[in-house]
Every structure is written in C-alpha cells, then in structure tokens.
Amino acid sequence: MVTRTAEPRTHYLNVSYGVMSWLLTLDHKRIALLYLISITLFFFLGGAFAVLIRLELLTPAGDLVESETYNKLFTMHGVIMVFFFLIPSIPAVLGNFLIPMMIGARDLAFPRLNLASWYIYTLGGLFTLVAAIFGGVDTGWTFYTPYSSIYSNTHVILTALGVFIVGFSSVLTGINFIVSIHKMRAPGLTWFRLPLFIWAHYATSLIFVLGTPVLAIAIVLVALERVFGFGIFDPALGGDPILFQHLFWFYSHPAVYIMILPAMGVVSEVIACFARKRVFGYKFVAFSSLAIAALGFLVWGHHMFVSGQSVFASLVFSFLSMLVAIPSAIKVFNWTATLYRGAIAHDAPMLYAFGFIGLFTIGGLTGIFLATTAVDVHVHDTYFIVAHFHYIMVGGAVMGYLGGLHFWWPKMTGRMYPEGWAKLGALLIFVGFNLTFFPQFLLGYLGMPRRYHFYPDEFQVLNVMSTAGASILGVGYLIPMVFFLWSLRYGSAAGANPWDAKGLEWQTPSPPPPHNFPETPVVKEEAYAYSSQEAERG
C-alpha cells in the first residue's frame, strides 16, 4: 500500500527546476501552487484592509482615517476578497490540484488554458493592485450605478477592468473542469462513483460558465457609460440604475455558491475520511450540489427587495430563495447523519469540517431571514447582512478551504504539518470568527447600516467585541501560514496516504509524479468504500 522510496523519486516538484519551469508549466499541480501563492497574497492584502476597517470601527467617531479612505478600504476589502480570493480559492487551488487525480487523469483537458487562466488572474490582479496604489476605488464591491458610472471620482474603470479580466480566468477554469469531468474520467469511474468534491466542482463550474459573462457585460456597460457617456443606466437619460443591480446580482448571487459549493465538496471528503464512512445519502448530496447551482440563478432579486423592484417580483424572488435553502439543509443533515456510528478522528481537517457545519448552519439559517421579504426590509444593508455573508463566505468557504488545505497538504507537498499547532489554529479561527461576526447580527437588527465610517455611540460595545474577535481571527490565520511554510522544510514525510483515505488521489505517491499515475487506474468501487476496505482486510 505505502510506496517506499529508496532513492529520490521523480515527482512534480523535482522534475524540473528554475523559475521558467514554473512560469511555463502546464502541469495542473504546479499551476495549483501558483494559484495558492497568488491567492494567499491577496488574502493577506484583503485581510490588511479588514484590520484597518475593524480598527476604525473601534470607536464611534471617524478618527483613524478619513471617510473617503474608509470607503476605499471596505471597497478594496470586498473586491479583493470576493474576486481575487474567495472565488478562485478552492476551485483554482484544490480543484486544480485534485480534480485530475480524483478522476484518474494525467491532467486537465486543456493544460494551456489552465496556465492561461492563472496569467489572466494575475493580470486582473495587477490592474486592481495598480488601482489600489493610485488611490483606490470607493464604490463598494457592488459597483452600484449611478454612483459608479457617474458620481464616483476614484479609479472605477481600472478596478472594474481588473474584475472583468479575472472573470475570464474563472470562465477558463470552469470550461476546463466541465470538459475534464465529462471526458477524462478513468475507466469504471461512473458518475455515481465520483467523489462529492467532483460533483461540487462540476456545479461550481456551471456557475462560472453561466454567470461570469453577465457580470462581464454589466461591467462593460458601466465602463461605456463612464468613459464614453453612453446612456445605459443614467436616470437623466431615462435609464434605470436598477437594471445594473439585476445584471450584477445575476452573477454575484450565484457567486456566493461558487464560494460555498467547493467548500461543501471539501467537507464531504473530509467527513467521510475521518468518520471512515461513506457519506450518508450520497446521491442526495450529489444532486443537491446541482440543485444549488441551478436554483442559485433564480434568486438574485432577494438583494433588491427595497431597491424599487416591483412588489410582485420581490415576492417571486422571495419564494424561489426559500427553495434554495432546501438543498443546503439536505447537505447539513446528511453530513450529520454520516457521523452517526462512524469512527471519528479529531484531526485538524475534521475540526475545520465541524466548524464549517456549525458556521454554515448559522449562515444558512440567517439566510432565511433575508429571503423573508418583510424581515429583509429591516435588515437589508445593515450589519445583519454583513454578519450573514461572512458566516457563509468566511465561516463556510474559508473554513472549507483551510480544512481542505490541511487535508491535502501532505499530498501536495509530501510533508505533514504539526498537528498540535493546526488544532490551535482551527480553534482560534473558530472562536475569533464567532466573536467577530456574531455581535454583528445584533448590530444589524439594532439598525446599524453597513459601510458606515462613524456610527451612533450606543453601537460601540458590540463593535468593540467584533474588533476584539477580529484580532483573534487574524492571529488564527497567521498560525497556519507560518506552520505550512515551516513544514515544507521540517515537516515529517507524509507517505502516499497519511489519513488512510479513499479516493484515487491517495493511491499515488506524495508528492505525485508529473503525470499523476504510473498507469491509468481502473475504478471498481464507489467513492468512500471505507467499509469494503475493512472487509478486504478481513
């Protein structure tokens, strides 16, 4: 089972050396690492903006930075975290690395497109960074018209161009995943033998492909209006600024599922492995991913209940938004049921999975508040929303990403991370996260609007709690950063399958050879056949 290497074995990391061997690589595993480095940079950049935001909100007065600066801070935080960290995070790093291995392929279908997608990502990132350096942008990550198209005098075009460009990288990734999953599966690997990680990424890729172009055209239209004076959303010409919101949220609501679906895929893998059980209700979990992707496109209007959208449309969107809660609930119940009578190990990836379930449950349940029209009227654009989407995006997506990173780190690097530190990091992140964002639910219902630079005094205590939590959260994020780097040199060798996990990616050495498998594997059993493994051993 375990591959012993007497002499240095050729793997994807040592097959060639030099900067160019990385910058021109077509190997999906190396491209995944390129993405890992870039999105980590953006994560800490976005995090730095968050630190400044939380420090400013420590006191009710606007005393740390000017209002203009504060507005740029939350805008850059949102733009960078959403478009340059969360959306590419799990798909571009873990998905890129694992999908070919999980389906028993030598690479993705289009390796050159894969590399191109990283360059496009980098180019988009550069535009956004240049915009930030030249003074930033202050429209909010939502770029609402007519503020963005006419009134703002910051670097809207440069930033929007960055977002536009990075969209192409999403599209290319999506095409690559869809085609690979359809056409490159190993012999015997039928759809219902696929790991749930693959199902989740398939659903995610559909959103990439169907949604991203609509955001792209929305941005193009804003640019045409801003640069050339076209009349598209301009009320002075009879244009409707709300049309922009429709186009924007057609992508940006499903984008939330781009973030959470892959995390759900990670959690399915981790729970199955550490409970040593097949995921309960496999087909329901698999199809609920597709259901989320499909229904996710029908609900965007719940961002617009108080926008001046028609009352009838709001009711339709409210109804449809309720439906999307169901597949999410199905997943949570099935994960919980998977734990029943399992053999549960409490390693760090599993702690992240537990954290994910808890935080996603809260995020999902508060989503029902927002889908309920009359309650949303009150909490819309308050800190309740901020808390809700951070529970989904950070409590959900980032916990999933970190859990996945811990889980597959041995596979990616061939090294183990220090388990004690990892558990400490997971604990700090969980505690810090809740302390940061739970008070924001209370703030939101009290009525504190989002994007406020200064605020009435009575909101201060909860804001102080939130800032205190953020500092714990910040430390929590630094810990894995440090020990992952440490493990590259000092971590113990991992072996092919340190978790004794199922799945094709664990059947090849760590780090994997350049083309993943010595010969194409043939699949004879379903995913997560942990009990049959037991039977084999007698």
Partner: protein
C-alpha cells in the same frame, strides 16, 4: 437596559411589532435547528470517536424516508416564513389612503422633507403619532435609502423616479434616521432623526415653524410661471387635458393602454410628456426636464393633486 447598551431596537411603529414577531419566529426556528445540528454533531463526535476497539465505522445504509423528511419539513417551514413575510411585505408596500403625505428629496448628503402644509425640514422629520405617514421620495443624484430602524421601515430612494414608503408611529420620541444605501464619501453622515409627537404637539410644532407656503400654493405659482396654464386651461380643451380631478383616475393613452394618474405618471408627464400621451391629444408638450428641480416637481404635483379637492363643478 441594564447592560448599558441596547441589544434590541425600540418598537415605535405599528408594523414594528409584527416584523419582530416574524423575526422571533425565525430566531426560534434557527435556534432549534442550529441547536439540533450542534448537539448531534458534538454527541456523535464524542460518542463515536476513534479509539482502541473502534477503528472502523459501522455501515449505515441510506434511508430515503429520512431524506424525504429533512427535505419536506424544512420546505414546509420556509413556506410558512415566505407566506407570513409576503403578507406583511404587501402591507408595508401599500400606504393607507388617508396617510399624511410628506415629500422627501435625498441628495448627497442630506434629507429634505416638506410637509403638506408647507413646512420644510432638513435631516429632521417631525411626525404625529397614530397617523399613517406616506413618503414620496426622489433623489437628486445617486441611490439613497430611507431607513428608520425603530419603525422597521426601509426604502431605496432612486434617482429618476419616485419610490414610496409609509409608517404609522406608535410611540413618541426621537429615533435614528439613516441612509442605508452607500452613497459616497459622507454616507455615514447622511443621518438624521425622526421626532414623533402627540398630534397636538405636532400641530403646535407646525405652527411654530416659519410660515412657508404649502407646496400646492408654490406649485400653483410655478404652474403659471412655467406657462403650463397656457394649454392646461379650460378654454383650450383641444390643446391639453384638464388637470382638475385627474389625480388617481384611469387615463386612456394614445397607445390604447390605460394607466393610473399617480405621482409617478404625473412626474413622467412633466419630464417626458411624449412617453405616455393621453388619448385625443397631440404630443405637443415640451419636456420640463432640467427646468424644474425635484422639489419644484413635487410642488407641481402637489398642486395638480390639490385640484381634485378644489374643483367641485365638473364639466359634463
């Protein structure tokens, strides 16, 4: 509150309690399901932890009945929430007919209000208790949002059109008014207060303000200054329709469609007369876009609306 800082907003409107009731229903649902999940996960994680003697899991077959249960039960619950919310939302969207009508103009970064009797306020709104108040809101620049947490009322103010909101204050006092839609540099400074007074105090407050002309009087003067009465005049029925009693009626358009002559229609007819011409008339009216401000526009509309009340004898 003993904590020294609030954890729950005041209820100062007739709908606040109803919104909160739904909110608490959802909180109860959330606590139940989140609690259920947390307890089960924690219980399973401990009871079935891996230990000597428990290296492998017990196989548990899938259970379609369970899947159906946790599909259908949550579905039922969210449908309750949808229907409950929808009914309340429709209430929130329909101002009562007898409401006190206040014109709101939002701009970077202030709120301007005008009472039906002409009094104007900036960043401060005085309203009587126990009387529905309807806000007809317009923006001079970007999107803003009128938000009074204590009333549980929020509505975006969108440039180029009217949006409306309404509330009926149920408790006297001063309450926060926020702009909830990000609107630029001083967004967080675009705040104010709503002062709820007893009816007598409100009337006293109205009397105490500098006597301004009621909006319909200013509107009437504008109507003459802008030359509207050159065509909209009983002597020239072939040129333009009478405006007496026009507000709130069904209008047949040249396209064959009918519209209700509400604020939005009157606004459109002043700014873009050609967009919806009343049947039987030629599209000869010039646009007044750029020639009237949002406030003048609301005064003109107030005048046209007032014609309904003044005019008692109607041509047959």
């Amino acid at each position: 509150m003993s904590l020294g800082f609030p954890l729950f907003p005041e209820q100062a409107s007739t709908v606040a309690g109803r919104v909160d009731a739904l909110y608490f229903f959802l909180v109860a649902i959330s606590v139940f399901f989140a609690g259920l999940i947390f307890i089960l996960v924690a219980y399973f994680a401990i009871k079935y932890r891996r230990r000597p003697g428990r290296k492998q899991a017990d196989p548990v077959p899938d259970h379609v009945g369970l899947e159906l249960a946790w599909t259908l039960i949550p579905l039922g619950i969210v449908m309750v929430s949808f229907i409950w919310g929808a009914r309340l939302f429709v209430t929130l969207s329909r101002p009562p007919a007898d409401a006190l009508e206040i014109a709101v103009v939002a701009r970077q970064w202030m709120w301007k209000f005008q009472h039906p009797t002409g009094q104007r306020e900036i960043n401060e709104l005085h309203v009587p208790i126990g009387r529905p108040v309807k806000l007809t809101m317009a923006s001079e620049d970007v999107i803003h949002s009128f938000f009074v947490p204590a009333f549980r009322v929020k509505m975006d103010v969108v440039p180029g059109r009217y949006t409306t909101a309404w509330f009926e204050a149920s408790r006297t006092g001063e309450y926060h008014l926020f702009c909830a839609e990000y609107c630029g540099a001083q967004h967080s400074g675009m705040t104010g207060r709503v002062v709820v007074l007893e009816l007598a105090q409100y009337q006293q407050w109205l009397r105490g303000r500098i006597v301004a002309e009621p909006p319909e009087v200013v509107g009437e003067r504008l109507f003459a200054q802008l030359g509207c009465n050159a065509c909209h005049h009983p002597d020239r029925p072939q040129l333009a329709p009478f405006l007496e009693g026009v507000y709130g009626t069904q209008r047949l358009l040249v396209t064959g469609e009918t519209v209700i002559a509400d604020e939005a229609y009157l606004r459109q007819s002043i700014l873009d007369p050609a967009a919806a011409v009343t049947a039987g008339y030629a599209p000869i009216m010039p646009s007044y876009r750029g020639r009237v401000t949002e406030e003048e526009l609301s005064q003109l509309i107030a005048y046209i609306k007032s014609l309904e009340k003044i005019q008692t004898t109607r041509s047959p």
